[in-house]
């Protein structure tokens, strides 16, 4: 039996402080006024400007053209996150179904065409991707924001692995029960994938919500700005201003990290145990 030493706790406390303090500081500081922050620095104490700051960030029109509010950015981030997650699930489930449950001549080729995409991150082909979007006239559209991000096989991969772990007898029983390919997919496969779909939805939502480089390139029209894009532009406004809007920048950061942090904390046992264990 191991007896915990004081030093163990010390290291864990220091580690927790190192990881969490910046987030706490960001939130606390966002409740102060900009002038207050400017003269007193960042703060760990609750300020009295919470409502004012967040109201301003969410409702006041800002940006260069002055027609984007924080609420709109939250909205756009949600659209990107949800749209991406839903698109990913629909496309990849269908593709994985074809690959696992059908015998057809092009199966192997299709498999490789799809899974090669795992090799190259979007970052290294960002310029030509941008050009393709601009050729297709999809700049500053939700389609342009979401669809190109779907061009990767991660979701297909998860579903393929999951489908392969589904007992074969289920398909055999369904066939004897008179279910064809569509019926089996809708009646059996989709319902038994519910947990899997939920898990992938959460992961993909956070991934979409966190997108930065792609929205930054794709959207010049401020009404399409996401929170991440907003962070970039609030910093650009700072350059040259007397007292930067520290509180607003922090408030924006807090809004941007709220869903990811909440999801991880709520689903933490699943993240710690489930993520790395082989599926049951």
């Amino acid at each position: 039996m191991y007896r915990a030493k004081f030093s163990d706790h010390l290291i864990l406390i220091l580690g927790s402080l190192f990881l969490c303090m910046p987030v706490v500081v960001a939130f606390m500081t966002s409740t102060h006024t900009a002038a207050d922050i400017h003269s007193n620095g960042l703060s760990l104490a609750w300020g009295d400007n919470f409502i004012a700051t967040y109201e301003k960030v969410l409702t006041q029109k800002g940006g260069f053209t002055g027609d984007i509010t924080g609420a709109r950015m939250v909205m756009n981030s949600l659209i990107l996150g949800i749209g991406f997650a839903v698109g990913k699930i629909v496309l990849s489930m269908m593709a994985a179904y074809a690959i696992v449950y059908f015998r057809f001549p092009m199966a192997t080729l299709s498999f490789w065409v799809i899974f090669t995409t795992l090799l190259l991150p979007l970052e290294v082909r960002i310029m030509p991707s941008y050009q393709v979007m601009s050729d297709l006239g999809l700049l500053n559209t939700y389609t342009g924001l979401i669809v190109p991000l779907l061009a990767s096989a991660t979701g297909t991969f998860y579903f393929r692995q999951f489908f392969k772990s589904v007992p074969e007898e289920l398909l055999e029983a369904a066939r004897i029960d008179g279910a064809g390919p569509f019926k089996f997919f809708i009646d059996i496969l989709v319902p038994i994938s519910r947990t899997m779909i939920a898990a992938i939805f959460i992961i993909m939502f956070v991934y979409g919500w966190n997108q930065y480089l792609w929205p930054m390139m794709m959207t010049t029209d401020e009404s399409f700005f996401t929170l991440m894009r907003g962070i970039k532009s609030i910093l650009q406004v700072w350059v040259g201003s007397n007292i930067p809007d520290y509180n607003e920048a922090f408030a924006l950061a807090v809004l941007a990290m709220l869903p990811p942090v909440a999801i991880v904390v709520i689903f933490q046992s699943w993240f710690i145990k489930g993520l790395t264990e082989s599926d049951k």
């Binding site: 007992p167 007898e169 289920l170 055999e172 029983a173 369904a174 066939r175 004897i176 029960d177 008179g178 279910a179 019926k183 009646d187 059996i188 319902p191 038994i192 519910r194």
Partner: protein, 365 residues
């Protein structure tokens, strides 16, 4: 209900691997057929070809009067019970039972009637609204059977349905399957690797090995006249003793002993002789074969003594109280001997004539 006619059926997988060859089997309406054999003998493949889950490479399968080679599984009018039950985990028991009927557009009233009847028959009525994961193994097994019963199919196909259950439950479910099949009178094909299950369930046994039929017959036929050493060692527990021996005229030399067959000589030269453990008797004096006991298994009603005659392993079954001593001698009624070809393992002849006089075993040298 229907007869099933399997003629010249074979299965060759892509890549040329042959799993089953030249199977001929006439299954009568209402008959309970058990396919038995070790794993990899092709029994499941054969069943799955009947079900339509596996394409038939050679020959034809007829269910009733219809050749079903190209018919979809759903249209073959069969029902199947799987080893892992294959219940739909997201549906309640009732939905599991209904699913196949709904897909074939059975009227609602009819569905309800059949589901309720099957549930009553299997005593799962109180579980109808539960999901499979809330059921025990035995209950799931019943639901799987129920799913087959509600279809009112021409034939039931069972693919090792009891092997996921614990030993005790297996015995009681075995009885229940037999009872249901008798009551419904539905033609059934049942696959198992458990010879005891095969013996107790079958009207006729089909013993398979290496993708071919070794023997077809009633359980007692197969037990008493095994067609080959393979069947002899597979059916019956403990397995039949198989000993190398030599026929010299009507004298059989086993190890150090010589048994007179009183004029009966199925062949001459080297031969494999089969002796059931329960046919061997202990004799006093210096008759019979010397038997050296190595260890004893107590079964309560019986004790199995494992040992050697000469240098060949032999097991004998004794009554629970029988005494076991060093330097025992054993003998057998020659009419209970089974003769197999030493090379091919095929049965040589019917058993030695009953008129053969009790063995006079003489020690050699």
């Amino acid at each position: 209900m229907a007869a099933i006619d399997i003629s010249s059926v074979g299965k060759i997988y892509t890549g040329g691997v042959r799993a089953v060859s030249d199977i001929n089997l006439d299954i009568k309406d209402g008959e309970f057929i058990v396919l038995v054999g070790p794993s990899g003998c092709g029994k499941s493949t054969l069943l799955r070809m009947v079900a339509g889950l596996e394409a038939i490479s050679e020959g034809t399968v007829k269910i009733g009067d219809r050749v079903v080679n190209e018919v979809e599984p759903a249209d073959r009018d069969i029902a199947m019970v799987f080893q892992n039950y294959a219940l739909y985990p997201h549906m309640t028991v009732r939905q599991n039972l209904e699913y196949g009927l709904k897909n074939r557009k059975t009227p609602r009233a009819e569905i309800d009637a059949r589901v309720n009847e099957a549930a009553r028959m299997l005593e799962i009525t109180q579980y109808l609204d539960r999901k499979p994961r809330a059921l025990s193994g035995g209950q799931r097994q019943r639901v799987a059977m129920g799913r087959a019963i509600v279809r009112k199919p021409a034939a039931f196909l069972f693919d090792e349905p009891l092997s996921n259950l614990d030993a005790k439950l297996r015995v009681s479910m075995r009885g229940e399957i037999k009872r249901l099949q008798r009551r419904l009178g539905t033609t059934s094909i049942y696959v198992t690797h458990d010879q005891l299950e095969a013996m107790t369930l079958a009207d006729r046994l089909v013993v398979l090995s290496g993708g071919q039929i070794e023997q077809v017959g009633s359980p007692l036929d197969v037990y008493h006249t095994p067609a080959s050493t393979f069947v002899a060692s597979f059916i019956g527990s403990p397995a039949m003793n198989l000993m190398k021996a030599e026929l010299q005229g009507d004298k059989l030399a086993i190890g150090p002993s010589l048994i007179s067959l009183n004029g009966y000589a199925p062949t001459s030269g080297a031969v494999t002789v089969g002796l059931r453990a329960e046919d061997l008797r202990v004799v006093s004096g210096d008759e019979g074969m010397p038997f050296t006991v190595e260890y004893v298994e107590e079964l309560g009603s019986q004790r199995l003594a494992h040992g050697v005659v000469g240098d060949q392993a032999v097991t004998i079954a004794l009554s629970g109280e029988a005494e076991i001593t060093d330097g025992m001698r054993i003998t057998i009624d020659p009419s209970k001997l089974h003769f197999f070809d030493a090379e091919t393992g095929k049965r040589l002849d019917a058993r030695a004539p009953a008129k053969a006089v009790a063995a006079v075993a003489e020690p050699v040298g």
